[in-house]
């Protein structure tokens, strides 16, 4: 009797064990490849069970790592600055259009909403940043285009402000002589920490994962983000080899464990997200469901 009752549960668990395995295996595979000894890898291919375990790919990466460290630096800088500015600008725009007594509320809401319905496409967008503002090949090109403020985030935040901040709080603060800016920074933002955390998290992920702006706007290797450097490395491992070695390079290349270094690069690019995931996972789920239900 208990077996019969429990067996559907058992089957569902079995399904999810398989599903989880299918999710994790590819990630595990590149990790195992990255710690495989190069020669045995060339013999056996990418395997979950390396014949000889060897960390020389990581040793190599961190020994000759100026390109990677630089790319990490670019990504961290862009992520921090982009998220902070983006969050502030999003809130600054979302708050007035959440106020029922603000006369341009409807017009500005539509102004945002329309950007979600129609866009000019890649070409004019590209020309605006390269020919009008001329920010290609600068770090601004990694921060500003498309990622700074999104219509969807503005509308989610506006909904949060309208539904959770009682107008009476704002009114009474204003009667006590607080100015609009003070109300915004000291009351509204403080009451909105959950939505700020969630949207900030989504922005952080978007900046961290971004390779598209690099692909479109960046030629200078010093400004490659980590994702774009990874993208380049997949087709051409030489990108990460130290540029200055010159004549030594071909000699060096012969001794570099290229196949395993490539996968070690992927692990290094993937690592921070996987390691931080248990801590931010809860907020992501919250944000997704709020976005889907209310947005």
């Amino acid at each position: 009797m208990t077996l019969l009752k429990r067996s559907p549960q058992f089957i569902i668990h079995l399904f999810f064990v398989l599903y989880v395995a299918a999710t994790v295996f590819p990630l595990l595979l590149i990790f195992m490849v990255s710690i495989t000894e190069e020669k045995s890898l060339l013999r056996n291919g990418y395997s979950f069970f390396p014949e000889i375990i060897d960390f020389s790919a990581y040793v190599y990466l961190f020994y000759d790592s100026s390109t990677i460290i630089n790319a990490y630096g670019v990504t961290i800088f862009v992520t921090v600055i982009g998220t902070v500015c983006g969050l502030l600008l999003t809130a600054l725009f979302a708050y007035p259009i959440s106020r029922k007594d603000f006369p341009l509320r409807k017009a500005l809401t539509f102004y945002v909403f329309f950007t979600m319905l129609f866009n000019g496409g890649l070409v004019p967008w590209y020309l605006v940043y390269t020919n009008v503002l001329n920010i290609n090949n600068t770090l601004l090109a990694l921060i500003v285009p498309n990622l700074l403020i999104g219509g969807f985030n503005v509308l989610i935040m506006r909904t949060f402000f309208t539904t959770t901040i009682p107008p009476e709080v704002i009114e009474s603060a204003s009667m006590d002589g607080a100015g609009e800016l003070r109300i915004f920074f000291q009351i509204v933002l403080r009451l909105s920490l959950p939505v700020m955390a969630t949207i900030g998290l989504f922005m952080t992920l978007a900046y961290w994962n971004d390779w598209y702006n690099s692909l479109i706007y960046i030629n200078d290797i010093d400004m490659y983000s980590i994702q774009y450097l990874l993208n380049k490395t997949l087709t051409d491992i030489q990108v990460v080899l130290n540029q200055t070695t010159g004549a030594l390079q071909s000699q060096l290349l012969a001794s570099v464990p290229t196949e395993t270094v490539r996968m070690a690069m992927a692990v290094v690019g993937l690592g921070p997200i996987v390691l931080a995931y248990p801590f931010f996972q809860r907020y992501i789920v919250q944000g997704m469901t709020v976005g889907a239900v209310k947005g």
Binding site: F16, Y46, L104, V112, L122, I149, L234, Y277
Partner: protein, 333 residues
């Protein structure tokens, strides 16, 4: 209020009320400016956002005129010569236009269908689990791929598909005595590969959205059904799925609205921009990118881009119209 005029002629017998109304509307216009002046700080707060959307979204919208021009950088966008629909003519004369449209729409339609079926299925199974801690553990693992960048996903695919050392060729096909497959130059496999990658990446996401909706269903329905002796399967079929329908509709229609926009990361990164695969991997977004950045054909790229934007815009309106017909509460606008 703006634009309403009050014609206070003799024909109108209620002259007094009419004048009163006119004065009031005048007042409301004046009070609009007064209110705006009172809220000038709020207005100031929106200025950075207004400028950002102007630069990032509205300026490019006006830039669609490039599609009707023979762009010459020396003369600038406004100074370049008008060529009417010539760019579109060139685009539609080749069979590319048909190919990229077909690929974009078919892939998206397939993805939408699979994501709905698997997403709902997985969410129902997640909800059935009695051990909630395990359910939460499964959820967080299956969501993870959704958060990885397309570049990382292309590495994962490469580790399976690499011709020389890939897992499939070396550890599955070789022991079976089957010749290695050159995955990155044989288009016929890619509809399957891209679909599998898409399922791997996004089913977790959809199942968590649907799960949130299932959790919101009143448990009394299930209690009553259990009392009446309904089986689990019957409960799923006649309670869960019908009550989930509004969310399924919204999620699906949101995706249908974007049916002409392909996931650039998936179609550009995972096939590694391989020329040999174009017949099954080229979509509108990758075509526009290549036309602009690799072929330098601004005219063709902007024509294809505008073609995509206009179709997308029409589809959104069409979808919204249909939703409004069915249930106006769920309409987007």
């Amino acid at each position: 209020m703006q634009g309403t005029r009050y014609d206070c002629s003799i024909v109108n017998n209620d002259l007094e009320r009419c004048i009163l109304k006119a004065i009031m509307t005048g007042n409301s216009r004046a009070s609009f400016w007064k209110k705006l002046r009172k809220h000038h700080i709020l207005l100031l707060m929106t200025v950075p956002g207004i400028l950002y959307f102007l630069i990032n979204n509205y300026l490019p919208m006006f830039g669609i005129i490039i599609a009707f021009k023979d762009l010459n950088y020396a003369q600038g966008i406004l100074g370049s010569e008008w060529v009417g629909f010539k760019n579109f003519e060139f685009l539609f004369r080749t069979d590319r236009a048909y190919l990229i449209t077909r690929n974009t729409v078919l892939y998206n339609a397939l993805f939408i269908l699979i994501n709905v079926i698997l997403g709902v299925g997985v969410s129902i199974l997640l909800n059935e689990l009695k051990k909630k801690l395990m359910s939460r553990f499964y959820q967080s693992i299956i969501l993870l791929p959704y958060l990885l960048s397309a570049v990382i996903v292309s590495y994962l695919a490469f580790s399976f598909l690499s011709v020389e050392y890939g897992f499939i060729n070396k550890l599955i096909l070789e022991p079976l005595g089957i010749n290695a497959i050159t995955w990155y130059s044989e288009p016929k496999y890619w509809p399957y590969i891209l679909t599998i990658v898409n399922v791997w990446k996004s089913v977790g996401y959809f199942s968590i959205i649907y799960l949130a909706a299932i959790v919101g269903i009143d448990t009394e329905y299930y209690e009553a059904a259990t009392l009446d002796g309904a089986s689990k399967w019957q409960q799923v079929r006649s309670i869960t799925v019908p009550l989930l329908m509004p969310v399924i509709m919204i999620m699906t229609l949101l995706q249908v609205g974007k049916i002409f926009n392909a996931d650039f990361g998936l179609f550009y990164q995972v096939p590694m921009n391989s020329g040999a695969l174009m017949s099954t991997t080229d979509v509108i977004d990758t075509y526009v990118y290549r036309a602009l950045m690799q072929m330098g054909d601004v005219g063709m790229a902007s024509a294809a881009g505008l073609y995509q934007s206009v179709l997308g815009f029409l589809v959104i309106f069409g979808v919204n119209y249909i939703v409004r017909k069915i249930n106006s509460d769920h309409a987007l606008f």
